[in-house]
């Protein structure tokens, strides 16, 4: 971490999706509480990991933070820009300064555009290189920066492998010189032998360009490797946030503990001896989440009050946030 100044500040962010039915006059028949009141900071130059199981709302957070979904409540501040109210010039600045990398290297590139048009789009939209030739030069530079050959500018996405397409997507995200990049499961769709390439590239770029990442993933091993701090999400809310070594070695929340114990370990000796906390049942639906602590239906240590009172998001130890009634704060803190 270069400074202690947060680049991104998220406060009580909520995103609810109404489920609508009807022909012309729609009525709301239910609400998916995809993200329900999360707060955290991301410091300049760090990588914050956001982990959770599918449907927990982690991708929705990333998109809502960038203003791609209008938030239901709360505030997001990125580099001094209030995302929820930004308009006009402020919004355009945000679109330059915050970018996104996607999971699916096939769906994230327009199949009808050349690599040059794809990577050059942010330059064109923000008029960063008005001169056509300069723009092409810059696109080549960007491709070389992500480890692709500048000769490939006139090719179409279908001519590249998954890993190479992911590099093209990264080059596009870098084109407008952003400070902050939301990486939405950037390696989940790649072959194992390619994942390390892309992770190394992201790390190199961070060092070289001073980038700040929100790294959304479900692969806990990779998250530990790449992230400085990790936030764990369950059913629309954060349950724990701490520096990654602290979180992996001393998890406080029972969900984090269960999640970590379920991670497959590539070592047969460890794998056979390990005590697994196997959670019973499935994640409840975010349409009607359980009252009180949302995890209480599957929690191995749940108490009666867990079903009634929503646990407070608090620091149980310095810089170790948790939302659980049953975790005691450290003595003397």
């Amino acid at each position: 971490m270069e400074t202690n100044e947060p680049l991104v500040r998220v406060r009580n962010l909520k995103k609810h999706f109404p489920i609508r039915r009807g022909i012309v006059f729609e009525r709301t028949v239910g609400i998916v509480q995809a993200v329900d009141g999360v707060s955290y900071d991301i410091y300049r130059g760090e990588t914050l990991g956001l982990v959770g199981e599918s449907g927990c709302g982690k991708s929705t957070i990333g998109r809502t933070m960038l203003g791609l979904y209008p938030p239901t409540a709360g505030s997001v501040n990125i580099a001094g820009i209030e995302v929820t109210t930004a308009r006009g010039a402020q919004m355009r600045l945000l679109r330059r300064k915050a970018q996104m990398i996607f999971q699916d290297p096939f769906a994230s590139l327009n199949p009808r555009w050349t690599v040059s048009a794809i990577v050059g789009e942010p330059l064109r939209i923000h008029n960063l290189e008005p001169d056509r030739q300069r723009r092409d030069e810059r696109v080549k530079e960007l491709l070389e920066l992500v480890g692709l050959s500048g000769r490939h500018v006139n090719r179409f996405p279908h001519e590249f492998s998954g890993g190479q397409r992911q590099r093209i997507g990264i080059a596009r995200a870098l084109a407008s010189n952003p400070d902050f990049i939301v990486c939405d499961e950037p390696i989940a769709a790649l072959d194992v032998s390619i994942q390390a390439q892309v992770v190394n590239l992201l790390e190199d770029l961070q060092t070289q360009l001073g980038l700040t990442y929100l790294f959304i993933a479900h692969d806990l091993s990779m998250v530990r490797h790449i992230c400085d701090r990790v936030a764990v999400m369950y059913l629309g809310g954060l349950v724990e946030l701490a520096a990654s070594d602290v979180l992996y070695e001393h998890p406080l929340h029972p969900y984090t503990q269960a999640l970590l114990s379920a991670v497959p370990v590539a070592d047969p000796k460890v794998a056979r001896k390990r005590q697994r906390i196997v959670l019973q049942g499935d994640v409840p639906s975010p349409i009607n989440p359980p009252p009180g602590c949302r995890f209480h239906t599957r929690c191995p240590i749940a108490q009666p009050h867990c079903a009634q009172v929503v646990p407070e998001w608090r620091q149980a130890q310095p810089d170790h946030w948790v939302a659980c009634h049953e975790v005691e704060p450290k003595q003397g803190f």
Binding site: V192, A266, V270, V278
Partner: protein, 332 residues
């Protein structure tokens, strides 16, 4: 290696696909066996031929464009590759059970679960409707579906991903197969659900003494699950070893590199992951050398010209490589 009687013995299997873009050399002469009661993991990336290989044994690849060029697959003294479709269907339903990555594709969305389960039972075992229903409930309980009796009336979409996978396992168990082939059954599931399914399969295997072939790309899942591992790359088996030896001392440069590229959840951050350069091969030309040669740090001249064969290097381990990746020297 254990000398149990082999349940399945595959020899020199070669599979190709003839597409408009050219011939894909998907499986290039692989041989392996599965002993009775053994759990074997087949590990490989996309395009390594791991699924095609198993599916072709069961007659589940479309022919054409597919073509089984050569090979034998002896299962219970019969060559699966030569069985007529009718008999193979029986083998698939009764002796070999299968579960897939996406259970939804194997369930009929417009029929209730009970109907799908009991129909199979009535057909294969001549049970009465009442008996079949009781057996179905028993099976659902066996795979840990709570409130089994009432869930028989539900449709597949009313189950979550993990529950559907359990249902698939129950359907597969209905016929009490000798061999279970699981093709990436947990890839689409979350880690906590994956742990549940792995546990379930382990339990059932111990209870029913089934052999297991678990196809996956995840070296992590395999470690706690398999007795023996086949590592596939470019349509060939590059390494075959019992699970301890494989993780302790991998003998093929690909296995070694793959394990080195994995971040470990129990280790503090290393400086950098050891990435494997390049991309997996496309297999549009016939294999004349080692498929891993273009990405291999130990590559020799002969690797491009000659195909290394799977050779034993220790009592528990075989590898298809001219070089010992630990010493960097050519093997004798």
């Amino acid at each position: 290696m254990k000398q149990d009687p082999a349940l399945l013995n595959v020899h020199d299997l070669q599979v190709r696909f003839h597409t408009p873009e050219g011939t894909i050399y998907a499986v290039n002469g692989i041989s392996f066996h599965i002993a009775e009661g053994e759990a074997v993991a087949v590990v490989g990336e996309s395009g390594s031929g791991k699924s095609v290989c198993m599916m072709s044994l069961l007659g589940l690849i479309p022919i054409p464009p597919g073509e089984i060029v050569s090979g034998t697959a002896v299962f219970l003294e019969r060559d699966l590759l030569k069985l007529p479709e009718k008999e193979l269907e029986l083998v698939r339903g009764r002796d070999i059970g299968m579960i897939f990555q996406d259970p939804m594709t194997s369930l009929n969305p417009v029929l209730t679960l009970g109907r799908q389960l009991t129909e199979a039972l009535v057909r294969h075992f001549n049970l009465t409707a009442e008996e079949a229903r009781n057996r179905a409930i028993e099976l659902l309980q066996l795979v840990g579906i709570p409130d089994a009796a009432s869930r028989l009336g539900n449709y597949p979409h009313q189950f979550s991903g993990g529950m559907r996978q359990r249902v698939m396992i129950a359907m597969m168990l209905a016929c009490n197969p000798k061999l279970l082939i699981a093709d990436e059954p947990t890839t689409a599931l979350d880690v906590t659900i994956q742990a549940q399914i792995v546990e379930l399969v382990q339990e059932i295997r111990a209870k029913l003494r089934m052999s297991l072939i678990w196809i996956t790309h995840d070296l992590g899942v395999v470690a706690g699950l398999a007795d023996r591992v086949l590592v596939m790359y470019g349509g060939t088996i590059v390494e075959e070893a019992d699970v301890e030896s494989l993780y302790e001392r991998p003998q093929h440069p690909y296995t070694l590199a793959l394990l080195a590229a994995l971040p470990r959840v129990h280790q503090r951050r290393q400086s950098r992951l050891k990435a494997i350069p390049g991309a997996p091969p496309h297999l549009i030309l016939e294999l004349t050398g080692c498929p891993f040669a273009p990405r291999c740090e130990f590559v020799r001249d002969r690797c491009w010209r000659e195909r290394p064969l799977l050779q034993p290097v220790s009592p528990t381990q075989k590898t298809a490589c001219f070089v010992n990746p630990h010493t960097g020297e050519e093997r004798a």
